[in-house]
C-alpha cells in the first residue's frame, strides 16, 4: 500500500516564517532524515511549534523552500500530526479513527478493521464505542495517536503530546510513541520535558529565536553540548522571548 519511494528526507532550505516583521523561524536549513527519532527542544517562543506546522504543511513559509523527497504525492496521508490538545469529533472513539481513515482514502470496507486495530494498539479497544469527548485527557491523546497512526504515516509530527497529561498518562503516551517508532514511522517531536527527550530521542535539534543552534545525538547533547546556547538551555538559563 505504501508508495515505493519514501517522502523522506524532508529538506528545508533557508525557510523563514515572518509575522508582523518578526521572524518566528529565521532562515532555517536542515534535513529531516528517515529512521532516528528527532526531538525539537528550545525555550518558549523559539519557534518549535511553528517549525512543526511548517513541516506538516499547516503553515506556508514566508520565504525559503521546504521539499519532500517524493514530490509527486505530497498528500496528507503520508505524514500525520498530533497536537498538544487533540480536537476530537463528537462521535465515538472508533468513529474518530474511521473518519481519519476515510479522509486518508482508505476503502470503506477496510476502515473499521484498521480503526479497531489502531485502537487496540493504543490500549483503547475496550472504549471504542465510548464518545470521544467524554474520555479522560490521557485517553483522548491516545485516541489522537491512534487516529494519526491508523493512516500508517511515514512521518509523525508530535507537538508536546504529553504537556497537559499526568505522569501515568504520559508514560502510556511515551510507550505508544516508542511503538510508533518501532513500527518504522519517523518521529519528530517537540517537548519541554528533558527527561522525555532523553528517553525518546535519538537526536536533538535545539532552536533559539527561530534559529537552529545545535543538532546533536542525544547523549552528546546532554553530556557535552557544543554551543553556548545549548549549555545555557540545559541549565535553564535561556531567556524566554
Amino acid at each position: 500500500m505504501r508508495a515505493p519511494t519514501s517522502i523522506l528526507p524532508l529538506r528545508l532550505a533557508e525557510v523563514s516564517f515572518v509575522v508582523g516583521g518578526r521572524a518566528i523561524i529565521d532562515r532555517l536549513s536542515f534535513r529531516i532524515e528517515p529512521g532516528s527519532r528527532t526531538i525539537v527542544l528550545g525555550p518558549n517562543g523559539a519557534g518549535k511549534s511553528v517549525l512543526l506546522r511548517l513541516c506538516h504543511g499547516l503553515l506556508e513559509p514566508t520565504s525559503g523552500r521546504l521539499e519532500w523527497a517524493d514530490r509527486e504525492r505530497p498528500g496528507r496521508r503520508r505524514q500525520a500530526m498530533v497536537f498538544q490538545r487533540p480536537v476530537l469529533l463528537r462521535r465515538s472513539a472508533l468513529a474518530n479513527v474511521v473518519y481519519g481513515l476515510k479522509l486518508a482514502g482508505v476503502p470503506r470496507a477496510e476502515r473499521v478493521r484498521a480503526a479497531r486495530a489502531a485502537l487496540d494498539s493504543v490500549g483503547l479497544a475496550a472504549l471504542a464505542g465510548r464518545s470521544a469527548r467524554v474520555l479522560s485527557a490521557g485517553e483522548q491523546q491516545r485516541l489522537a495517536l491512534a487516529r494519526a497512526w491508523a493512516m500508517r504515516p511515514e512521518v509523525m509530527f508530535l507537538d508536546e503530546p504529553t504537556a497537559s497529561l499526568d505522569p501515568s498518562a504520559r508514560a502510556e503516551v511515551e510507550r505508544i510513541i516508542q511503538a510508533i517508532h518501532d513500527a518504522g514511522t519517523k518521529v519528530v517531536m517537540v517537548t519541554h520535558n528533558l527527561g522525555q527527550a532523553r528517553r525518546l530521542g535519538d537526536e536533538i535539534v535545539l532552536l533559539h529565536q527561530g534559529r537552529l543552534v545545535e543538532r546533536a545525538p542525544v547523549d552528546r547533547f546532554f553530556t557535552r553540548p557544543a554551543s553556548a546556547e545549548a549549555e545555557a538551555f540545559l541549565k535553564g538559563e535561556l531567556p524566554w522571548t
Binding site: 499547516l58 496528507r76 463528537r90 462521535r91 487516529r147
Partner: protein, 245 residues
C-alpha cells in the same frame, strides 16, 4: 358576556374573569382558537425551515471563508438581526402589492406572504448566530481538520455536523422571533379571520376590541409554546452534552 353588569369594571375584576374564560377556551379546545394556533405554527415553522436551510450554510460559509468585504457582511448581518418587523412587513407589502414587482403572484394577504416576511425577518438572525458559533468552533477545529486532510466543503460539513446541537440555539432564536412578531404578519397578512389570523395579530385585535378572554387565552398558549420549545431545546442540548461531551 362582559356587558350588562351595571358596575364599572376595573382591571382587578377583568383579569380573573378573562383568565377564567381563556382557560375555558383552551380546555374546551375552541375551534377558532385552534385554527389560529395551527396557522401560527404553520407560518412560523415554515419560515424557520426555509430560513434555516438558507442561513446555516451561508452563515457557516461566511465563518470559514476569507473574501473581500467579509467584515462588511458580518457587520451588516449583525445589524439585520435587529430588523424591525413592521419595516420588513412594509417592504414585502410593497413587493407583493398589486402594483409591485411581484404583484402578479397574487400572494398579498395570504399565509405565503406571511411566511416570506417572517423568513426575511429571521434569516439574518439564524445566519448571524450560526456565523458566530461556527467561527468560534472553527478556531478550535481548523488545524486538526486540515492536518487530517479535510479541506473546504468537507471541513465545513464536518464542523457543522459536530456542533449541530449548539446550532439549535440559533434556529430557536429565529423561531422565537418569528412566533412573537406582530408587525410583519399584520401588514402582509392583513389579519383576516380564518385566513391569515395568527396568535399575535389576534391578540392585538382582540385586545383593542376588548375581548380580553380570547387575547389572554392566545397569550397563554403563545407563552406556553415558547416555554416548551425552549425547555425541549435545553433538554436536547443537555442530553447531547452528556452523550457526546
Amino acid at each position: 358576556m362582559e356587558t350588562g353588569t351595571g358596575r364599572e369594571r376595573t382591571v382587578i375584576d377583568v383579569i380573573p374573569r378573562a383568565l377564567h374564560d381563556a382557560l375555558g377556551l383552551i380546555v374546551g379546545l375552541d375551534a377558532s382558537l385552534l385554527e389560529i394556533v395551527a396557522l401560527s405554527l404553520e407560518v412560523s415553522l415554515s419560515a424557520v425551515a426555509i430560513a434555516t436551510v438558507l442561513a446555516l450554510p451561508s452563515g457557516a460559509a461566511i465563518a470559514v471563508m476569507q473574501f473581500r468585504g467579509r467584515r462588511v457582511i458580518v457587520v451588516l448581518l449583525n445589524a439585520l438581526m435587529g430588523l424591525p418587523p413592521v419595516v420588513v412587513g412594509l417592504i414585502v407589502y410593497l413587493l407583493l402589492s398589486r402594483a409591485g414587482p411581484l404583484g402578479s403572484l397574487g400572494l398579498l394577504f395570504t399565509p405565503a406572504a406571511m411566511v416570506i416576511a417572517q423568513t426575511i425577518l429571521i434569516l439574518p438572525i439564524i445566519a448571524a448566530l450560526t456565523r458566530q458559533t461556527v467561527e468560534d468552533a472553527w478556531r478550535e477545529y481548523q488545524e486538526q481538520l486540515h492536518s487530517l486532510g479535510a479541506r473546504g466543503f468537507t471541513a465545513a460539513l464536518t464542523l457543522v455536523w459536530d456542533i449541530r446541537f449548539s446550532l439549535i440555539t440559533a434556529v430557536l432564536a429565529g423561531l422565537g422571533r418569528a412566533s412573537a412578531e406582530v408587525g410583519a404578519v399584520m401588514i402582509v397578512g392583513g389579519n383576516i379571520a380564518g385566513v391569515t389570523r395568527v396568535m399575535t395579530t389576534a391578540i392585538a385585535l382582540e385586545t383593542s376590541k376588548g375581548d380580553l378572554a380570547l387575547a389572554l387565552g392566545l397569550g397563554l398558549i403563545l407563552l406556553t409554546l415558547v416555554l416548551l420549545l425552549n425547555a425541549g431545546a435545553y433538554a436536547l442540548k443537555e442530553m447531547a452534552q452528556h452523550r457526546y461531551g
